[in-house]
């Protein structure tokens, strides 16, 4: 474990900003050069299984010590050495995109689509980036912190509104 972290720190000193010791070792990475790190981890270090990929919105988070609004969190697992790694990439609101890892892990395909659907983070290089859980014509990204839990009537989903009116007319 220690060896791996030291090696990564040396080899990718321009990509890795910080290594934190939490419940699992956490690498905080820069966006540029991130794909090289992931490729190295998968092909050389045997992290063949991507457990999870998700976004987190840190808008007005009290204990925040960075500027960017979003974070994309990766959990990687090595089935041989049983090491679990957590990687984080911080993404500013104005420049809201991240490199897609779908060419490396097929699993990431739907995870990234969900992340895009829920947070509006664009994944560059994704083969089919569109909404997955919400309808295609939905407005807004539900898991952002500034998205309300209960919608006002004016903000209702357009298709649903039209359907309601149609039912009213017929009855």
């Amino acid at each position: 474990m220690e060896e791996l972290l030291n090696e990564l720190k040396e080899k990718f000193s321009s990509v890795i900003i910080e290594i934190q010791e939490k419940d699992y070792p956490t690498l905080i990475c820069k966006r540029s050069g991130f794909l090289d790190l992931m490729k190295y981890l998968k092909e050389e270090k045997g992290f063949k299984y991507l457990i999870d990929l998700c976004g987190v919105d840190y808008l007005d988070y009290k204990y925040k010590n960075f500027e960017e609004r979003f974070e994309v969190v990766y959990h990687l697992y090595n089935l041989d050495t049983k090491i679990l790694l957590r990687l984080k990439v911080r993404i500013p609101e104005k420049d809201c995109w991240q490199y897609s890892v779908t060419p490396l892990w097929e699993t990431a395909n739907w995870f990234e689509r969900e992340c895009y659907d829920m947070f509006g983070i664009n994944f560059k290089g994704h083969p089919n980036l569109k909404r997955i859980l919400m309808p295609d014509d939905w407005e807004g990204h539900p898991l952002r912190k500034d998205y309300p839990v209960y919608l006002e009537e004016e903000q209702e989903w357009k298709t649903y509104k039209e359907l309601k009116e149609k039912v009213k007319q017929q009855s």
Partner: protein
């Protein structure tokens, strides 16, 4: 879905163009086990392309969890995979305990393990019943439901609910087993292995069953890992990855069991893996029951477990010599839950269920992420269904063991 058609027309010479046949399977199709829609592109009866469309059961569990406190969130987890809700409860509870730094008493760990394995048996019985029914074996369905009913009745005695039992909670479990439940479980573990044998005699060497399952939807080990498949589906391909062995939680470290694996990675192997898992689950329950008397009388909830109704902020009173009358209570605010993040994953009956939680010190999670096995498994359908017949697609949906409540969240 005109877009697919237009793209294809551009690629092929217009004169030679023969329109492929498009078919919508679902969302209301009995063998899709819920509201899964598959958009198929067919050539005769062979599937050329398959696009799963999900989201019909999306309830926004992750968003809702941000408005509820930690104990209330566990109730939401019941509604994810409603066939094995005890496993979901455990995953949530484990993540929250890690975040709060709670140490669960040993008795609670044993009880959790029992409940989780019961959930696994329930799930696999329902899977076997519906999978066999889809392929055309009616009898198994009835026998499986008979035995599942037995377990559901035990669940009812444990916590009063049959499907959505919020039995596991942060820091332990809700209440202890009574002697009646333990006796009933002993009776069940005694009887159940012979029942598994009964199911096997019904379908194991059945010629139709073999023809429908052998060599269907083969997934090589390398591809299975890359697709993110977990649970019995991955083990059917010969990869012995099981969270219970790789990162033991609860009482799995102290019980003995074997992780069964398949060889060919086809539907039949996955069936064999699940049947073997039924036996192992039974064995685990038995071992845990034997260990229960050692911990007789221990508490089942951790000492500093959060109350069901968590306050927004706990206030620490200021040390004052003599409080005067009419003084407004002032104090330092302490975070209810330490800020930070935690990741916990369990081996749910369907695969790896992982929970990632971020806390901001209040009584509600800042972000709760659930990685559900069904979501990943549905994304693998296009890969598995390619160049198979429509009839095999039913077998593929069955063998993946998906629940749409689990995938859509």
């Amino acid at each position: 879905m005109a877009t697919y058609l237009e793209i294809n027309k551009k690629q092929v010479n217009e004169e030679k163009w023969e329109e492929p046949f498009y078919l919508n399977m679902g969302p209301q199709h009995p063998s899709t086990h819920g509201v899964l829609r598959l958009f198929l592109e067919l050539e005769g009866e062979t599937i050329v392309n398959c696009t799963p469309i999900i989201g019909y059961l999306h309830r926004g569990v992750e968003k809702l969890a941000e408005t509820l406190n930690y104990n209330q969130t566990i109730v939401l987890s019941d509604r994810l995979d409603y066939i094995a809700s005890a496993a979901n409860n455990t995953a949530f509870a484990l993540a929250f305990e890690k975040l709060m730094g709670l140490e669960v008493p040993r008795r609670a760990k044993l009880l959790r393990t029992i409940v989780c394995e019961m959930a696994r048996i329930c799930n696999h019985l329902l899977w076997l019943a519906t999978h066999a029914l889809d392929i055309g074996a009616m009898t198994v369905f009835l026998y499986c439901f008979r035995d599942r009913e037995w377990l559901l009745n035990i669940y009812e005695k444990i916590c009063g609910a049959r499907l959505t039992h919020t039995y596991v909670r942060v820091g332990g479990v809700r209440q202890d087993f009574t002697q009646e439940i333990i006796d009933e479980l002993y009776k069940f573990t005694e009887e159940f292995p012979s029942r598994i044998y009964d199911y096997e005699t019904l379908i194991d060497v059945n010629r139709i069953w073999l023809k429908r399952t052998k060599g269907v939807a083969v997934v090589p080990a390398e591809d299975a890992i890359n697709l993110g498949l977990t649970g019995p589906v991955l083990r059917g391909s010969g990869v012995p990855y099981d969270v219970r062995k790789f990162r033991p939680y609860d009482a799995y470290g102290e019980v003995e069991f074997i992780v069964p694996t398949g060889k060919n990675g086809d539907t039949y192997d996955r069936y064999r893996v699940r049947m073997e898992e039924l036996r192992q689950s039974n064995r685990i329950i038995r071992q845990c029951l034997d260990k229960l008397p050692e911990t007789q009388g221990e508490p089942v909830v951790a000492e500093n477990a959060p109350d069901l109704l968590m306050p927004e902020k706990i206030r620490k009173p200021e040390p004052k010599p003599v409080p005067k009358k009419g003084v407004i209570f002032k104090g330092e605010e302490i975070p209810v839950v330490p800020p930070g993040e935690a990741f916990a994953s369990i081996e749910s009956p369907k695969g790896e269920l992982a929970v990632y939680v971020v806390s901001d010190g209040s009584n509600k999670p800042w972000r709760l992420r659930v990685r559900t096995p069904s979501f990943v498994h549905i994304s693998a359908i296009p890969y598995m269904a390619k160049n198979h017949l429509i009839a095999d697609l039913i077998a593929i949906i069955g063998t993946l063991d998906i629940v749409l409540g689990d995938s859509d969240r």
